[in-house]
């Protein structure tokens, strides 16, 4: 990996993202650019599947930085997010010291809490210097972690340092590029948001979504891609429990090309609807008349 220079303007950021196939709205490129310039974490909120996680991957690839991902879940604690001591190795070290006849307790305690016994988890890894430049740290789906962990993050995100009682404080020589995503299954505390640049990632407009589908599903015909996007856009107007995101659009377009579809037919849509809608209630609502109506809108030529 070779490190690329950071973009120098919003347009530069747009180009950088586009070069890796991420067709971002200008507003998203603006905040991403600002977060790099100001060294602030970027907090992305929005429905599932609108490309929040993707931007971290694209940024790390485009800038040639290492991507460190912390997937949040309920019960995530310091031991699995930041660091842990390798107790097995420490025990062996103690036994070896005993066998060698070392009885100096002070010496022993400084020996077994040394860096070689420290298991570094994502957050600590992200604070380490890297030849290619500070890594991209993706804290994914923060809303899934519990409040206690969120409070812990406050310290790391403002000072980019971790204090390990037995070892000391580890501070990042250069702060990582932090991207935090949330699907809003619960509200994240304002104290954390205040330290970040906030952006709500929305569903893309038809034109952009069409461009995304074309770039992500190369084999797709112009006609089919247009129909797919129109169909999905029409679905988002329906009152569904979970509207399909861009990720679902890409999945569906891929599924249809795999099936050699040339254009949308009721049969084809019915068979593959599971790629778009993930709730049985929503699928049930899309049977019969509603399906016909949306399909007619999507396939009419104008």
């Amino acid at each position: 990996m070779t490190a690329s220079a950071l973009p120098k303007s919003v347009d530069g950021m747009l180009e950088l993202l586009t070069s890796r196939g991420y067709l971002a709205e200008r507003s998203l490129a603006t905040v991403a650019y600002l977060s790099l310039r100001m060294g602030r974490p970027l907090f992305l909120e929005g429905e599932a599947g609108v490309g929040k996680t993707e931007i971290a991957k694209v940024l790390s690839a485009a800038l040639g930085r290492k991507l460190i991902r912390l997937q949040c879940y309920e019960g995530l604690d310091v031991a699995s997010a930041v660091y842990e001591w390798s107790s097995a190795a420490q025990m062996i070290a103690i036994r070896l010291a005993e066998a060698a006849g070392d009885t100096d307790r002070e010496q022993l305690s400084s020996d077994i809490f040394a860096e070689r016994f420290l298991i570094k988890r994502p957050l600590l890894q992200a604070l380490e210097p890297d030849v290619a430049g500070a890594p991209v740290l993706l804290i994914d789906e923060l809303d899934r972690a519990d409040e206690a962990f969120e409070a812990y993050l406050l310290e790391i995100l403002s000072d980019f340092q971790v204090t390990i009682p037995e070892f000391g404080t580890i501070k990042a020589p250069q702060p990582p590029i932090v991207i935090i995503t949330s699907n809003r299954t619960r509200e994240i505390h304002d104290a954390l948001k205040r330290r970040c640049l906030y952006h709500w990632v929305d569903y893309p407009e038809a034109e952009r979504e069409l461009a995304i589908v074309k770039s992500r599903v190369p084999g797709i015909s112009a006609k089919l891609s247009q129909q797919v996007v129109r169909f999905v856009q029409a679905l988002r107007d329906q009152d569904f429990y979970k509207s399909p995101g861009v990720a679902e659009t890409i999945d569906w377009a891929t599924a249809l090309t795999e099936l050699d579809a040339r254009s949308l037919t009721p049969q084809m849509v019915g068979d593959t609807l599971g790629a778009l809608l993930k709730y049985q209630d929503d699928i049930a609502r899309m049977q019969g008349d509603t399906l016909q109506k949306v399909l007619k809108e999507a396939t009419s030529d104008n």
Binding site: V10, V31, E45, G75, M91, D190
Partner: protein
């Protein structure tokens, strides 16, 4: 894209402009701290300021921290930067929060009332006396008396009793651990540290146990006309819960759904209730349970029910448009929470039968069906919240229905 230099009006004071804009946002209800203003000025220097859309995105990323505020921000931005030239003039008309216009909070009104002549509210001193005179039997009567038939003084007494109710604090085991001598998991880190004191010999083994914390409570309170005699007391009840716990969300519904969680967070119950009622438009109107549940399921369900929440649905279930949609939404709600408790004041009648169409539709989808109309039943509810759900609660429902 328009390239109008809105931020550099002829007077040319970008900093003043941003400060003014921040004040306007604050007046419009978006919390904007001084730190954010400095951030905004730094950020504006990092982008090309000629592009209005970029300025918009920049200021939004810094000043807006909640999805709900985006609309207010959009309107404020439009208004403010359209008239950027005479922004100073505009600021004069923006009501600034620290200037006297703010009306006194309800608590101070209560203080004023308390200090005023007793003629206006002559029952107020009586409350005090009555409290002193309450004998054991009086208390018993009060425990069982229907909220709907209480006098103002009795209601004041009950309100106090509600405020003193103690909620169980730990009933949900989380997946996080803490040092606990009786725990089941080995705490290697602390064990090793303590072993160093004995030169590496492990003498005492440290343990970890799961952290327990209160389950989130989500209350959906029916405020339609037929429930009007109960709503105020239930709000007191919910305020007491909100005060005692961290994760409580409260929604009111009549014909539409309103989230009043933040309003209820005010410490003083009167202030909380007043700010609650000012945020609701359909007080004591009709009921549209299905529609309200639909908007709850769609907009809030995933956000507040995620962590094993207990749902308290407080309603008499008297719905005029009871159809399949009501059953569908109830089912959705039931499947997305840990426990759904329906509290119905109508259950106070011993001869209660689930005859109304709405009640019939809703009953199959609840875990528990309880009366709440007096203090005893409210205490019963609190006891039920701390206990695990009864093993055969579904059969109980069927016998009730």
């Amino acid at each position: 894209m328009t390239t109008i230099d809105h931020l550099n009006p002829p007077t040319g004071h970008m900093a003043d402009n941003v400060v003014g804009f921040a004040r306007a946002l604050r007046a419009a209800g978006i919390p904007v701290g001084p730190g954010a203003v400095i951030d905004a000025l730094n950020a504006l220097q990092a982008i090309e300021i000629g592009n209005r859309a970029d300025v918009y995105a920049t200021l939004e990323a810094i000043f807006v921290k909640r999805h709900e505020h985006m609309l207010i921000f959009a309107q404020a931005f439009d208004l403010f930067f359209r008239a950027a030239e005479d922004w100073k003039h505009m600021l004069d008309s923006v009501p600034l929060p620290d200037h006297a216009k703010k009306k006194p909070p309800p608590a101070s009104r209560r203080v004023q009332e308390a200090l005023a002549q007793p003629s206006a509210r002559d029952e107020a001193p009586q409350v005090q006396e009555q409290e002193l005179r309450l004998s054991v039997s009086d208390k018993e009567i009060l425990q069982k008396k229907d909220f709907a038939q209480m006098s103002a003084a009795e209601i004041a007494e009950v309100t106090r009793a509600i405020a003193n109710m103690k909620l169980p604090q730990a009933e949900l085991r989380t997946r996080r651990y803490q040092p606990d001598a009786k725990g089941l998991r080995l705490d290697m880190r602390r064990t090793l540290r303590s072993s160093l004191r004995t030169g590496g010999e492990i003498i005492d083994i440290r343990k970890l146990g799961r952290i327990e914390k209160p389950a989130p409570i989500v209350a959906l309170l029916d405020i339609s006309g037929s429930m009007s005699e109960y709503t105020r007391l239930f709000l007191h009840f919910l305020h007491a819960i909100t005060d005692a716990r961290k994760r409580v969300s409260v929604f009111l519904f009549g014909t539409r759904l309103t989230n009043v969680t933040r309003a209820l967070r005010a410490r003083d119950p009167d202030e909380a209730l007043a700010s609650c009622s000012s945020s609701v438009e359909d007080w004591a109107g009709g009921t549209r349970i299905a529609t309200s549940l639909h908007s709850f399921n769609k907009l809030w369900g995933r956000r507040v029910l995620g962590q094993g929440a207990i749902v308290l649905l407080i309603s008499d279930g008297l719905e005029r448009e009871a159809d399949a949609r009501l059953a569908f939404e109830m089912d959705r709600l039931h499947r997305s929470c840990r426990r759904l408790i329906w509290l119905n004041p109508l259950l106070r009648y011993s001869a209660f039968e689930a005859k109304a169409q709405g009640i019939k539709m809703m009953l199959p989808h609840v875990d528990e069906f309880r009366p709440v109309h007096n203090l005893t039943s409210m205490e019963g509810l609190i006891a039920a919240l701390s206990a695990p759900p009864p093993p055969h609660h579904r059969s109980l429902i069927r016998s009730a229905a």
